[in-house]
């Protein structure tokens, strides 16, 4: 392998670091109408009237759109494969507004200042309704958030929307009640994880225009161009063939852009006015009118013998999907399906879940997608079990964790085909200095350092659902284009897929030109989410290249007047040693465009019946000031098994970045609302992202396994890396203070309150 498993810079790097205009806003034509959205000041209200007369009269205003003008085709904004598990509960503009920040009206005009003036001139009268702000009381609340008649579920998901229940599901393996009853020790705890903002640096943005064929072109910062095409077509009531979606460079997504957030507004404006239009969400809007990580309340019960053999684990999750159900029914599943299978020695598992509406900003996709919430709960409960047993938490895990070759009943019955989890535990223990520093040490009269750890898994794509295709084509200059529908959002998937193609074709990386994504030209791909790109799209690339190699051999053999079986292809030439004949790839490529009847192009799709889990261990060292409760992260060690590491730099950066996002979730990040349902921390001034002063030292290593079904032995890496910091830091804080904080984030106030109560 020449390219795979190397530390290769991203192929688009130099454009990015020299500031070239490659993002959506940079590319938007100057004559775009500026589009802005009037946002609801009420958490729940019915719009009685919108007086648009003064606004529409302003010179330079192109249109003012309200729910009366907007199409009435209900849809979900969740970028998921059709038929989606998320309910069809959205309209572009609705008669009801269901959270502070929900869309009321759309204004488009020639300049930003004129649009701002028009927004101020809109007079809206509302019938204010009683909002549901406490999601734990949503089901018994007299207000019904989605009473609309055209509400629709594509798939049966156990919903009862008249009780604000979006969905409910669960599974059981073995007899949990009996195992718990017969256990020496039962841990029964409730954990609470908060809504977090994805906070990618590039906010939501889209521009739209009609092309020479009268088709709606949508250029957008999205992770899911093909889903955007389908969803926009439905929302506008037109055929998907009339919509083209293009994804330029993206300034980060982390799941936020797996929903249709900004696209619907300029699309409707262009649809109605036939003029080009653009929308740029500001940071406030990005915080308060998009989506976030789902807030969850998770009860965990674990039964174990006094020797530390886990007999049963039960997870019961209540998830707050906010005002709309996008990604609600799916994220919640991962809070059980990911943390449970890792403790495969248990005899019984039970998972129960409910997803409820409330009048807060909708949840959505955010790296980890429910697994992160589940791992905080289950791994903390395991750590609490270790403390009660007086057992080393690493030893407890080694005794109970899943091993290669075992069937995982809590993971759809899949058999574990690759794992270096055991080595990840051993290596992490060494790197953090576990033997020397466990569990805690006093570093000054008022400061204590504590160690904590956790382990986690994720999937590699959605089994039986995710579908990726790739096309690789030989050009007359001996170069290849690799067409993909997977969306590089900064992660570097264009590069790692090119690495795979280069090794599959036996050529240099620079001979591969990667192109994506344009729904008119790119082969279908569900998009970049669910940790799918390396594993699912990677396999499609390998298949497409294998097809092309066969075609090259066939064409070469024909020109050499040999049988296909008699020739070899080494990347540079088709040859037969026996016959002493050869033709270079360049010459072959030239001959194919001169009086030829052949085109050489491999196209393949891939979907997987399994989703092999990557694994990770995380180890945290924190320093807690016992007088103030302040927690400083000193160092974090992450050891990752993502199978073969395709790109050593990019995988490492994924891990470091994911860990620091996890540190933010553990210590600071918490979307908060006031008593009227208004988000109170909707800016970087108020919502704290980890800065480089907060991240301590993060050290990442890889323990590679080889996944037989993966491309070059690879599994995923994108999401697994965010799952360990919350439980590892919670345990480190416990070792430093004796206090378990079960409600994220772990703030000084919570630590001090607990400390005072226990004293």
């Amino acid at each position: 392998m020449k390219a795979v498993n190397q530390a290769i810079p991203k192929i688009d790097s130099m454009a990015l670091v020299t500031g070239k205009p490659v993002y959506t806003e940079d590319l938007a034509p100057a004559n775009c109408l500026v589009v802005k959205v009037l946002r609801s000041p009420h958490a729940f209200a019915r719009i009685l009237d919108i007086d648009t007369r003064a606004a529409i009269k302003l010179p330079g205003i192109a249109c003012v759109l309200t729910h009366k003008e907007a199409p009435k085709h209900r849809f979900t904004v969740a970028g998921q494969s059709y038929p989606e598990l998320s309910p069809y509960d959205h309209l572009i503009l609705d008669e009801y507004v269901r959270y502070v920040g929900d869309a009321v009206a759309i204004v488009a005009g020639e300049t930003e200042s004129i649009v701002n003036r028009a927004l101020r001139l809109l007079k809206v009268s509302y019938e204010v309704l009683e909002p549901v702000l406490d999601f734990t009381k949503a089901m018994d609340h007299p207000s019904v958030i989605h009473p609309e008649e055209d509400y629709e579920n594509m798939v049966e998901i156990g919903s009862d929307r008249f009780h604000n229940l979006v969905s409910s599901e669960g599974f059981e393996h073995g007899d949990v009640d009996r195992e718990l009853a017969e256990s020496d020790l039962v841990i029964d705890r409730e954990y609470h994880t908060r809504a977090n903002a994805q906070a990618m640096m590039e906010t939501f943005r889209t521009y739209t225009y009609y092309d020479h064929n009268s088709r709606l072109n949508v250029v957008s910062s999205t992770q899911v161009p093909f889903h955007v095409r389908r969803i926009l077509a439905r929302a506008l009531g037109i055929s998907a063939s009339e919509v083209r979606v293009i994804k330029p460079r993206i300034g980060g997504g982390f799941g936020a852009k797996q929903s249709v957030v900004s696209e619907i507004f300029p699309a409707l404006v262009t649809f109605i006015t036939k003029k080009p239009a653009k929308i740029l969400f500001d940071r406030y809007e990005t915080f308060s009118s998009s989506n976030s990580r789902h807030e969850m309340q998770i009860r965990v019960r674990i039964g174990a013998s006094k020797e530390g053999a886990i007999r049963a684990i039960e997870v019961n999750t209540l998830s707050n999907t906010g005002a709309y159900g996008e990604h609600g029914p799916t994220t919640v599943g991962l809070s059980g399906h990911k943390p449970l299978p890792i403790y495969n020695q248990a005899n019984a598992f039970r998972f129960q879940s409910k997803v409820v509406y409330s009048n807060t900003m909708p949840g959505g996709a955010f790296r980890g997608y429910g697994a992160t919430q589940g791992f905080f709960a289950v791994e903390t409960a395991i750590n609490e079990l270790a403390a009660q047993l007086g057992m080393d938490p690493i030893a407890l895990r080694e005794k109970n964790m899943v091993r290669v070759g075992e069937r995982m009943p809590a993971y759809y019955g899949e058999v574990l085909s690759s794992s270096a989890l055991d080595r990840c535990l051993v290596r992490g223990k060494e790197l953090i200095g576990w033997k020397e520093a466990f569990p805690s040490r006093l570093v000054s009269p008022t400061k204590v350092r504590g160690l904590g750890m956790a382990m986690a898994m994720q999937g590699s794509g959605i089994s039986f659902v995710d579908t990726a295709s790739a096309e690789v084509r030989l050009h007359d200059n001996g170069y290849y284009t690799l067409q993909i529908g997977a969306t590089d959002m900064g992660t570097g998937c264009d590069t790692i897929l090119a690495q795979m193609a280069a090794d599959s074709l036996g050529c240099d990386l620079h001979q591969i030109i990667v192109h994506g994504v344009d729904t008119d030209n790119s082969p279908y791909d569900t998009g970049s989410y669910a940790s799918s790109t390396t594993y699912v799209t990677g396999n499609a690339v390998i298949k497409a290249c294998a097809q092309l190699v066969e075609q090259i051999k066939e064409a070469g053999a024909e020109l050499l007047e040999l049988s296909k079986q008699a020739v070899e292809f080494d990347g540079d030439r088709v040859f037969s040693l026996q016959e002493g004949k050869e033709i270079s790839l360049n010459e072959l490529a030239q001959r194919l465009v001169f009086g030829s009847n052949r085109v050489l192009s491999g196209t393949a799709a891939h979907s997987s019946p399994i989703s092999p889990p990557p694994f990770m261990t995380g180890f945290a060292e924190v320093e807690v000031d016992l007088e103030t409760g302040k927690v400083d992260l000193i160092q974090y060690v992450g050891v990752v098994d993502c199978g073969t590491v395709i790109n050593k730099n990019l995988a490492r950066l994924q891990a470091e970045g994911g860990i620091v996002q996890g540190i933010g979730m553990a210590l600071f990040e918490d979307i908060q609302y006031n008593e009227r349902g208004r988000m109170i921390n909707n800016s970087f001034m108020q919502y704290k992202l980890p800065s480089r002063l907060d991240a301590g030292t993060v050290m990442v290593e890889f323990e590679e396994s080889y996944e037989p079904s993966g491309p070059f032995g690879a599994k995923s890496v994108g999401e697994i890396v965010v799952n360990t910091p919350c439980p590892a830091i919670a345990q480190a804080v416990y070792h430093a203070t004796g206090v378990w904080v079960r409600d994220l984030p772990i703030t000084p106030e919570k630590i001090l309150r607990e400390l005072r109560e226990t004293r």
Binding site: S13, E25, M200, E202, G658, S683, F684
Partner: protein
Amino acid sequence: MKIRVWINQKEYQDEIAPDTLLLDYLRAKGCYSVKRGCDTSNCGLCTVWLEGKPVLSCSVLAVRAENQHVVTLEGMQEEATRFGTLLAQEGADQCGFCSPGFIMTVIAMKKELDHPTEEDVKAYLAGNLCRCTGYMGQMRAIKRYLEVE
């Protein structure tokens, strides 16, 4: 109102609204490397140099640049390539959206601080947020950059 300003050594004279932000003025002049990441002067994405000093162009009125010299990443291509290559070799460009502002600050830091420690570097760059990298790869690139000369 009328202003005269030098952007990347080229003189411009324009009629602008008094409340025009330097960020918007620079983008209107084709300096697309200058990004807006927040509305509260917290993220550092819009960092440019005004008279050789890094400023947040979202918090400076364009008229404040009257008769002054502004440098954006477009006017710093050679140095951006030098440091950017090191950043790319670490894979630490990632989505790249914070890179221009970050790189403008790093180059300013190199000019301003003599042999900075790791703590000095962190403090100088504390106002440059990045959501992708977790900062470690950026630090590795900075260390190599400072070692070079």
